[in-house]
């Protein structure tokens, strides 16, 4: 019998990918401040600490506000760009789309520093608002990528039929196109929300010291006695992220099923 080398390799690779997030919950429930084997027993102390930390509560509130705003704005901007790029042919589309998608490959530190220096020079004080400005820049390309595939799988004849039946461009968009790409929009919002929630570099440099989840975690990691709390918090965050992603994937697939397109896989 042939040995399925590739399959074994791929499963090994998945184990490598999942290793850190599988180990995380083990230490979140381990009754020891040292993050090491052998395990010392079961405790929920770290989770209780997490729920009673006032600074963390504030960080959570700030993060949710930033992530929700980012999700809505990026998805709106992403919808416009994806629709323009898939529906109309115009010369400027290439360069403009290149610029819009650039944050996907640009090192974040360069973006954060360039933005920071300009904001300071024109005298805009750093706040949660400036973090949102940066996050929208980072998230929009992902929204565009998801929504482009949603718009591409649209059948153009549906739109033409609506025009022939006397609908104008706006009512056609509202009645025909929007419902069909809605799953893509929800999927893009969930992805942007997740990216913003986890984003660190822009949150760190464009913030005014107001805590966000990622900067709070980064700060706590310097103190070894706080590490188990971070393990507990990380477990919760990973759980939330995976739930949001599963939802995003569900909506993405439903969108594809609705437009009758073939599922070619993946978000990107």
């Amino acid at each position: 019998m042939k040995i399925p080398v590739l399959r074994i390799y791929t499963i090994g690779y998945l184990l490598f990918l999942y290793c850190p997030i599988l180990i995380l919950p083990i230490f979140a429930f381990n009754d020891s401040t040292a993050v090491a084997f052998p395990l010392q027993g079961f405790t929920t102390e770290w989770f209780q600490n997490v729920f009673h930390d006032a600074v963390l509560g504030k960080a959570l509130k700030n993060s949710l506000l930033v992530a929700a705003s980012t999700a809505v704005i990026s998805t709106f901007l992403g919808t416009l760009a994806a629709r323009a790029n898939t529906r109309y042919q115009f010369k400027a589309a290439g360069p403009l789309m290149g610029l819009i998608m650039l944050p996907m490959v640009l090192p974040e530190i360069i973006m954060a520093m360039a933005l920071l220096v300009v904001l300071l020079s024109i005298g805009i004080p750093l706040s949660l608002f400036t973090i949102i400005l940066g996050h929208v820049l980072v998230c929009t390309p992902f929204a565009v990528a998801i929504l482009t595939s949603a718009f591409q799988s649209l059948d153009k004849s549906l739109e033409e039929a609506a025009y022939d039946l006397g609908e104008g461009p706006f009512s056609t968009f509202r009645l025909i196109i929007l419902p069909l790409v809605m799953p893509g929009i929800i999927s893009a919002m969930l992805i942007c929300f997740t990216i913003s929630l986890d984003e660190f570099i822009i949150s760190n440099f464009l913030g005014s010291g107001e805590p966000l989840l990622s900067t709070f975690i980064y700060g706590q990691l310097r103190f070894p006695k706080n590490v188990p709390n971070i393990m507990a918090l990380g477990t919760i965050l990973v759980g939330v992220s995976i739930t949001l992603l599963a939802l995003a994937e569900f909506f993405r697939r439903r969108g594809l099923a609705r437009t009758g397109a073939k599922d070619s896989g993946g978000f990107l």
């Binding site: 590739l6 399959r7 390799y9 791929t10 690779y13 490598f16 290793c19 850190p20 997030i21 180990i23 995380l24 230490f27 993050v35 090491a36 052998p38 901007l77 416009l80 760009a81 629709r83 323009a84 790029n85 529906r87 109309y88 042919q89 115009f90 010369k91 400027a92 789309m97 610029l99 819009i100 944050p103 490959v105 640009l106 090192p107 974040e108 530190i109 360069i110 973006m111 520093m113 360039a114 933005l115 220096v117 020079s121 929208v136 929009t140 153009k156 992805i191 986890d198 660190f200 440099f205 990622s214 975690i217 990691l221 971070i230 990380g234 965050l237 992220s241 896989g265 993946g266 978000f267």
Partner: protein
């Protein structure tokens, strides 16, 4: 499309509708991305002042020795070296480049078989699920993932306690604060970025070409080398660039895994921009880093073009 007559004028044309629709997003990117990047470029050829930059053109932030203007308006007698003249910046740049190349090579080589497996060996209905499984870890907190590698490789960490518990080693292995540890962490962080473009390229390959290759007497392996690999190179190139470019600017890993002992160019940019308040030099280092990345990418693309045009 729905218009009964073709109107030659600009308004109402494809171009006008497209531009109008894309303009909010494009404007956002121009104001908050293109303008700041242009400002960085301009700052890099100006004179450093106290908490500001002075519009006085010079190239000393790149080459030679520069003098900052002090708070009282006089020039500082103590100079500083420009980005390309400073041996520390050169060392950090070389290290960042070295780490990025290692990470890119490791990530893409490890990712190719996975992409190949999902594209060729997985039933079409299961592909989306596999890709979803591969991307999940990527969407979880970057800081926590990087820190978890620290937990695994530290002296009292997971790997050492397992090795010692099983009596494979008696003394803990020193893995923290090494370049290898940073490479593993970054290769882990960017894995899905490498898998997805390669997968997309493999999916586009017409399967009948492979059959044709084998009908013409090629073995499975030579078919792979002469058909599959060249046809999937577009994906490999995309993967290389999408991993290589962001990696060179990584900031979190040198701090958490390197323990601040092995700084990379991103840490230097941050130091100059913020702690040292030298935005001119910080900008020059940032621009230099982008130039290096751009140059390496162009060389890579050129080499690759030669490979694809090479002997048939």
């Amino acid at each position: 499309m729905s218009e009964p007559l073709k109107r030659p004028r600009f308004w109402g044309s494809q171009a006008a509708s497209g531009l109008a629709l894309i303009s909010p997003t494009a404007l956002y990117a121009i104001l908050l991305l293109a303008a700041p990047l242009a400002a960085t470029l301009v700052y890099s050829v100006m004179t450093d002042g106290y908490l500001t930059v002075i519009p006085h053109f010079q190239l000393c932030n790149y080459i030679g020795e520069c003098h900052s203007q002090l708070a009282d308006g006089t020039m500082s007698p103590d100079g500083y070296l420009g980005a390309w003249s400073d041996p520390i910046v050169r060392t950090l740049m070389a290290r960042s480049l070295f780490v990025s190349i290692l990470v890119t090579a490791a990530t893409v080589l490890l990712a190719y078989p996975v992409a190949y497996f999902v594209s060729f060996n997985v039933a079409p209905s299961k592909k989306a699920l596999w890709l979803f499984m591969i991307t999940i870890p990527f969407w979880t907190s970057y800081v926590i993932r990087v820190f978890m590698w620290n937990v695994m490789i530290s002296r009292t960490g997971v790997i050492n306690s397992v090795l010692q518990g099983l009596h494979i080693t008696s003394d803990p292995l020193q893995m923290s604060f090494t370049i290898q540890a940073m490479v593993i962490t970054l290769a882990h962080a960017y894995a899905p970025f490498a898998i997805l473009p390669i997968f997309v390229a493999l999916e586009k390959i017409d399967r009948s070409l492979l059959e044709a290759g084998q009908d013409l007497g090629e073995t499975r392996f030579t078919t792979f080398l002469r058909v599959t690999l060249p046809l999937s190179m577009t994906g490999v190139i995309a993967a290389v660039l999408i991993v290589f470019i962001p990696t060179i600017g990584d900031y979190v890993t040198p701090n958490l895994i390197g323990g601040g002992k092995i700084p990379m160019i991103a840490n230097m940019i941050e130091k100059q921009m913020l702690k040292a308040d030298n935005r001119a030099l910080g900008s020059a280092i940032a621009v230099s880093a982008m130039l290096v990345v751009g140059l390496v990418s162009v060389v890579f693309l050129a080499l690759n073009r030669r490979y694809l045009k090479g002997p048939k």
